[in-house]
């Protein structure tokens, strides 16, 4: 019971800490950044193998001084609506704290005015889905203040597919079969051995 009390207390405290992050709404962000990806229509990229080339930076046509508060840039891989369907754990919420659209961080770098390019090898824990890329600009308190994305506002253009790794390995398959065979053989071996012993022992 004491252990439970301690668990409750520590969770409550960590929750309080979490709450201090502030409430940033996606709808309050300015779309001042531009992001482009070099993917062809219908191209399927393989996780763990293929590269994604991303170019991002401030929209050069905007007035100077728009980016005065930007300190850090964060690039994220985001789910397209088709991959969010029937999957409530990827839901889009206006509250950035609760938003699950962009679950994978590609890179985080100090802010640079000029256009940047990155060749990103897609990591092996990325699931099979349709994606786009979004960039967030963070201020000194690490709150999002601006964004840009590689697709339009309805998230319908310029989407790309990623194929996940299976996670299976031949060695695992073989080990699994060996253990299974052992289990079955041990069981029947024991069974027939005991049956034979009973038959051979003197009948009462």
């Amino acid at each position: 019971m004491a252990a439970r009390g301690l668990l409750l207390a520590s969770i409550y405290l960590s929750l309080l800490v979490h709450e201090c992050y502030g409430v940033t709404l996606f709808s309050s962000l300015q779309k001042t950044l531009q992001v482009t990806t070099t993917t062809k229509r219908g191209q399927v990229l393989k996780a763990g193998e293929d590269k994604l080339t991303i170019t991002w930076g401030l929209n050069q046509s905007l007035a100077a001084g728009t980016d005065s508060a930007y300190k850090t840039m964060k690039l994220q891989l985001c789910f397209a609506p088709v991959s969010q369907k029937d999957r409530a754990w990827r839901k889009t919420e206006d509250h950035l704290n609760k938003d699950k659209t962009c679950s994978f961080k590609i890179v985080e770098k100090p802010y640079n005015k000029s256009l940047q390019t990155l060749d990103w090898i897609i990591e092996s824990d990325v699931p099979t889905a349709t994606y786009f890329v979004r960039a967030y600009a963070l201020n000194a308190e690490r709150h999002e203040v601006a964004y840009g994305q590689s697709t339009n506002d309805q998230k319908t253009t310029n989407l790309f597919d990623i194929q996940a790794i299976t996670g299976r390995h031949a060695s695992l398959d073989i080990a699994s079969v060996c253990f299974s065979v052992f289990s079955v053989v041990a069981l029947f071996g024991f069974f027939f051995h005991e049956k034979r012993k009973a038959r051979m022992s003197p009948q009462k």
Binding site: R4, L7, L8, I11, Y12, L15, G48, K85, D86, R87, A88, W89, K98, S124, D125, P127, T128, A129, A164, I165, T166, G167, R168, H169, L172, D173, A175, S176, V177, F179, S180, F182, S183, V184, A186, L187, F190, F191, E194, K195, A198, S201, K204
Partner: protein, 530 residues
């Protein structure tokens, strides 16, 4: 005349009204101890232990107890092993909510059938082989998770692993061959509760193993597959232990002992008939679906719920989810204890009210859990929910031995299957479609629990009454002997087959509550031959 008491096939048989549900060492004083038998524990004339020493490993009785509950525990661990890892698995296999829901339903559906078959298997091969066969033949199904690469494969694997939950039957059956009828209630309740705990431990164990494997360098989509080797190996180890250390009966194994001659085994069609024509059986099938069924459903959804709703790390969600299942270590026996305590002043009516109150409270806390939007409140609701629901499971089996004496085994099996069915049904209704969130699903499930617990009020025993009605005033029908004797026809009564029932009826008089002392001994009862 042959006495059918305590023969294999009658699990939980002969449970008297007087057993305590929660004591560490319980002795049965009325049964004479066999002075010649050389066992570490005092035994009765059939060499069944009269004392339950929880922390002993005395062979064969306590060894059997520990082998038995550990096997059942292992199967619970493997059946629910996927649940805390779903956040990883759903990304690897590209699952949608319906797939996850269907897999959960599949995991509890297989054992509806296998639990019914296991009774026959225990009769034919003995509980030792019944248990070992099931646990070792289901090990390959656990290892098969390594091959799964689609939603269909995942659902199929979880379905097959779920068959192993029939070890509940072999566990209870085995206990009834080793322990005297007067303490069998406590023994079976403890074994069942500790076995069910596996559903909680797995929520801690699997994320922990997964985390270790990931730190060792594996990618997430491979690490979860490797993690399944742990429950798989447990299956094999437990199977081997059961085969080498276990024995069917106190005196040896089934096939090396001569079977006792002309003990008339009861006819299965008759036993089945009296079980299914008793309306109380079906009410309890529904009720157990709303207590154990809910427990199994929560085992499947709670880790994912905490992970998603409160953005917790996988193993944090696992820790919280584990506290739900682990409450079984004391909550289920507590339910039985409260049932016994309520029976002392109020008899069966007290037991029924206890069950109604505890299960309804479970439903209310379930609603609270669904509606709680902060983590501390959510955890508190979940803890209260777990204690009350599991106590309801214990309270249910405080009443079931009294529904029928002849068909106790079948009724217990049907009730157990009803639990699994309730789990499948609630997962289908509330956690498979995308129409509402998991939180809403939990609240709706709570409302269903509250509504479906009302039928307890319909359970009426003519000799003891029900929640709202007292015992009947009719002089013949108000006798326990009439109720239990009604399960035998005249021809069977002529052959004296019903004597066990009469003995039981006499012992069950304490279910009248405080009225026991004032009733005269009925003259019509035939003295039972010893």
């Amino acid at each position: 005349m042959a006495d059918t008491e305590n023969t294999p096939g009658n699990s939980m048989h002969g449970v008297s009204a007087k057993e305590k549900a929660f004591a560490f060492s319980v002795a049965s004083p009325i049964m004479p101890t066999d002075p010649i038998a050389k066992f570490k524990l005092p035994v009765d004339s059939e060499h069944k232990a009269k004392v339950f020493k929880i922390f002993s490993l005395a062979s064969p009785h306590m060894t059997t107890f520990h082998l038995s509950w550990l096997s059942f525990f292992t199967c619970f661990v493997s059946t629910f092993a996927a649940a805390p890892l779903v956040p990883i698995i759903r990304d690897n296999l590209n699952l949608i909510k319906t797939d996850i829901g269907n897999a959960g339903i599949a995991s509890v559906s297989g054992s509806i059938f296998s639990r019914l078959v296991m009774g026959a298997v225990c009769d034919l091969l003995g509980p030792r082989y019944g248990c070992a066969f099931l646990i070792m033949l289901s090990a390959p199904t656990v290892f098969s998770m390594v091959f799964v690469s689609s939603a269909r494969g995942y659902i199929a694997a979880r379905f097959m692993i779920g068959f192993s939950l029939a070890t509940f039957v072999s566990c209870q059956y085995w206990m009834s061959t080793m322990f005297n009828g007067k303490i069998i209630g406590l023994v079976n309740g403890t074994a069942a509760g500790w076995g069910n705990m596996g559903g909680g431990i797995t929520q801690l164990l699997m994320p922990f193993i997964y985390e270790l494997i990931r730190r060792a360098g594996a990618t997430p989509f491979t690490a979860w597959r490797i993690a399944f080797f742990a429950p798989g190996c447990l299956h094999v180890i437990m199977g081997i232990l059961v085969l080498t250390l276990g024995q069917d009966l106190p005196d040896g194994n089934l096939n090396t002992l001569q079977k006792k001659g002309d003990v008339p085994k009861d006819k299965f069609p008759k036993v089945l008939w009296y079980a299914i024509t008793n309306y109380r059986t079906w009410i309890f099938v529904l009720l157990y679906g709303m207590s154990l069924g809910i427990e199994l459903t929560i085992d499947n959804v709670i880790a994912e719920y905490f992970f998603d709703r409160f953005n917790l790390k996988l193993h944090t969600a696992g820790v919280i989810a584990a506290t739900f299942g682990m409450a079984n270590i004391f909550a289920r026996p507590l339910g039985g204890l409260m049932s016994d305590m309520a029976a002392r002043p109020f008899g069966m009516r007290g037991r029924l009210w206890n069950l109604y109150i505890v299960q309804t409270l479970g439903g209310i806390f379930c609603i609270c859990l669904g509606r709680a939007s902060t983590l501390p409140l959510s955890i508190l609701s979940m803890i209260l929910f777990s204690i009350t629901t599991q106590a309801a499971c214990g309270a249910t089996f405080g009443i079931i031995p009294f529904i029928s004496r002849r068909s106790l085994g079948v009724i217990s099996g049907l009730t157990g299957a009803g639990g699994n069915f309730g789990s499948g049904l609630t997962q289908l209704l509330f956690f498979t479609s995308s129409r509402h969130s998991t939180a809403t699903g939990i609240s709706l499930m709570g409302i269903m629990i509250v509504c479906c617990t009302f039928p307890v009020a319909l359970v009426h025993f003519p000799q003891w009454g029900s929640m709202f009605l007292p015992a009947t005033k009719d002089s013949e029908k108000s006798k326990e002997e009439y109720y239990y004797g009604a399960e035998w026809n005249e021809e069977e009564k002529q052959r004296g087959l019903h004597h066990g029932s009469l003995k039981f009826a006499e012992n069950s008089r304490s279910e009248r509550g405080k009225r026991v002392g004032s009733d005269p001994t009925p003259i019509s009862a035939t003295p039972a031959p010893v």
